[in-house]
């Protein structure tokens, strides 16, 4: 009698284990999309409409190579005139940034959003044109005339590092809206003679201690290449 009970117990255990394994086989597989995302910075063309002194365009792209890591690239061109109290100059050039983003956001099933931190290396090739300047003199005894040298400084370069913080939200299928802020630190730059790179394409305004800030508003499209199980 007891032997039969023991046998039944083991048989039931066996069935339970089979039953649970069958449940596991039934689970829905969650697929995550991996691919290349390509987009544009929408703020720069909008800036160009309202500010005639600034014309810029930037293409952004990233590639998911690990679950939470993305390789990112930004390419851009800029033509911007800066007017200060005593100087007016035009910066014209192109830039390129490369780096990685780490997604710190834990998505719910089916969501593909990102809150990320990133690092970039930036490189820019540009020209500066000193359009005009007024020698700065304290007092109003002799008032300096504004000079228009239209002096062009060509073949200037700058490179820097950026710390990026941003987010991307999938609004429609594979279409992402992104916003990011970057804190830039200049590594080195070739300064023109008797002038300074006060604005660098991609880096933006160069502050006194060689720092800068950047904002990006992007619209990008994901081209899925592979779908992996989560």
């Amino acid at each position: 009698m007891t032997q039969r009970h023991i046998l039944l117990f083991f048989i039931s255990l066996f069935y339970v284990s089979i039953a649970t394994s069958q449940i596991e086989n039934d689970t829905i597989k969650i697929k995550e999309k991996y691919g290349i995302r390509i987009g544009v910075d929408v703020s720069k063309p909008i800036h160009s409409i309202f500010e005639t002194e600034s014309k810029g365009f930037e293409i952004v792209s990233d590639f998911r190579f690990l679950k939470n890591y993305y390789a990112a690239v930004e390419l851009g061109v800029l033509d911007k005139t800066t007017n200060e109290d005593y100087i007016n100059f035009t910066t014209k050039g192109s830039y390129f940034k490369v780096g990685i983003n780490y997604n710190a956001y834990e998505n719910w099933v089916g969501m593909n959003n990102e809150i990320y931190v990133g690092l970039r290396y930036g490189l820019s090739f540009f020209d500066q044109t000193l359009n005009n300047y007024t020698p700065n003199v304290k007092g109003t005894y002799f008032i300096a005339e504004t000079l228009e040298p239209n002096m062009q400084f060509s073949d200037l370069t700058a490179h820097w590092v950026e710390f990026v913080f941003g987010m991307k939200v999938e609004t429609f299928k594979n279409l992402y809206l992104g916003v990011s802020i970057s804190f830039n630190n200049l590594i080195s730059t070739t300064d023109p003679e008797n002038f300074k790179n006060l604005y660098v394409p991609g880096f933006n305004r160069v502050f006194l201690n060689n720092t800068g800030v950047g904002f990006n508003y992007t619209l990008s499209y994901l081209i899925p290449i592979i779908k992996k199980n989560k």
Partner: protein
Amino acid sequence: MKKNLILMALLFLAILSCEKDDICIEDTTPNLVLRFYDNENQTEVKQITDLTVWAINYDSIYVNESLDSIAAPLDLNQNATTYILVNNLVNDTITFSYDRNDIFVSRSCGYKTTFDNMQIESNTTNWIKNININNTLIDNDTTAHITIFH
């Protein structure tokens, strides 16, 4: 949460690290500094008791003042400036000639003009006995560039 805190701290630091460079605090275009010495005892500073100074065609910069040195602006649109110095109602005229160089200072200050090859083009000697140029380069206004003996 901890991650967020670190991020916030980094953001805060990054914002703090941006310096204000909108206000011009550096030295800009210098003035010409003239100092008055005794002609008899040439190491001795000699004050002028009633001094009036103006650049030709401009307003006075000093009127009936008692001084041993003056700071006179130089015309930064010309390569010469003529000053009239009146010592107790006696006039003397000095014309300074120079070259101008514009030196970049900073974003907010722009360029300053410095003056080089300072020369006395002409001068009258009614009360001024002698003029000495201490420094032909005028790039600051902390030391006297010209010594006038009277």
